[in-house]
């Protein structure tokens, strides 16, 4: 529908996915993963799949980021590999 918007979203999606994989600081990685969830949510909203986008915003970007940050806090912040 809006190809240029789609392309920007997809490029950002790939970039955030790579950052989340490469960053050694796991807290930063979980934050970037939250951004990735928001971008996917935007992509789904743009495809008019609003129900899925809503679920992704609530679960992926909201609760699972909080849960991941809690896990990082109680374990190690630096990744070993």
């Amino acid at each position: 529908m809006i190809p240029i918007f789609d392309i920007i979203l997809l490029v950002f999606l790939v970039v955030t996915a790579l950052i989340a994989l490469r960053v050694r600081d796991l807290l930063a990685a979980s934050m970037v993963f939250g951004i990735y969830s928001f971008l996917i949510c935007l992509l789904w909203a743009q495809m008019t799949a609003v129900d899925v986008a809503f679920t992704e915003a609530a679960v992926g970007a909201g609760v699972s980021t909080v849960i991941m940050v809690a896990t990082v806090y109680q374990t190690a912040r630096r990744s070993k590999d």
Partner: protein, 252 residues
């Protein structure tokens, strides 16, 4: 080894990119997902069969309700597994070191707690709105339940897990999580007892004061309530256990 992995990744990626050429155009009428008998049946008959304007909700909780029921069970099992792995009763039965020192100040910060006190009631009402309004707009049991659970997580973040535990004790969590599943599967069982298939809601019109079509619409709401209750309780339980290493004391 790394070169081999790179080769495998590049090869798979190239194959996938090559295969996208055969995909139908986005939103095409001829794509297999839109052309089948099943999806056209949903699109044409949802209004007359269930009187639910939002097709997604009707498919999720009525036509595919068996699927959704076990999705809820998956959430329940995940919560149980987290409790089984992490819950620490303080008798040293766990092999790992105790939770990090609780560095919450004695008095939780005034500004944060006051804002949370303002926001949380609105958040909970909005969660109930999302749950109840799922027939007409995007939303439903899962989203509403997650937001309801998130409101308790917000209490725990602002004041520490113990304060949130006063509103939602561990006993209550397990009770609510099991009750949600019970509501869902109980609805199906009632349908079975009334002489129809499992989760075939239209037969509920015999015990609800409505006609068979509206009975399906109302049963969707009942079932979604069950999903929301389970999801809310389990989300908070997962957070509380992960953030405190299972001691349920202190907080982030």
């Amino acid at each position: 080894m790394k070169g081999l992995a790179l080769f495998a990744v590049v090869l798979t990626g190239a194959l996938l990119l090559y295969a996208t050429g055969d995909f139908p155009a986005w939103g095409s009428v001829h794509s297999p997902a839109n052309g089948g008998e099943l999806s056209s049946h949903y699109i044409e008959n949802v209004r007359t069969e269930t009187k639910v304007p939002n097709i997604v909700t009707a498919v999720l909780a009525d036509y595919r309700s068996y699927d959704t029921m076990f999705e809820t069970v998956v959430v329940f099992v995940a919560g149980i597994a987290i409790i089984a792995l992490l819950r620490d009763f303080g008798n040293g039965s766990r092999g790992y070191p105790p939770a990090l020192a609780n560095n919450l100040p004695e008095e939780p910060d005034l500004i944060i707690t006051q804002t949370c006190n303002l926001v949380i009631p609105v958040l909970q009402i909005f969660a109930l709105y999302v749950l109840a309004h799922g027939h007409y707009s995007p939303g439903g049991g899962f989203q509403g339940g997650v937001m309801l659970g998130a409101s308790y997580i917000l209490i725990a973040l602002a004041n520490g897990v113990e304060v949130a535990m006063k509103a939602m004790s561990e006993r209550k969590i397990m009770l609510l999580a099991a009750t949600g599943i019970l509501i869902y599967s109980g609805t199906g069982l009632i349908c079975l007892l009334l002489g129809e298939n499992f989760l075939d809601y239209h037969v509920l019109s015999r015990i609800l004061p409505t006609d068979p079509i509206m009975a399906r619409s109302h049963a969707i709401l009942i079932v979604e309530t069950g999903v929301a209750v389970t999801v809310a309780a389990i989300m908070f339980s997962i957070y509380a256990n992960l953030a405190t290493r299972g001691t349920l004391k202190g907080g982030l």
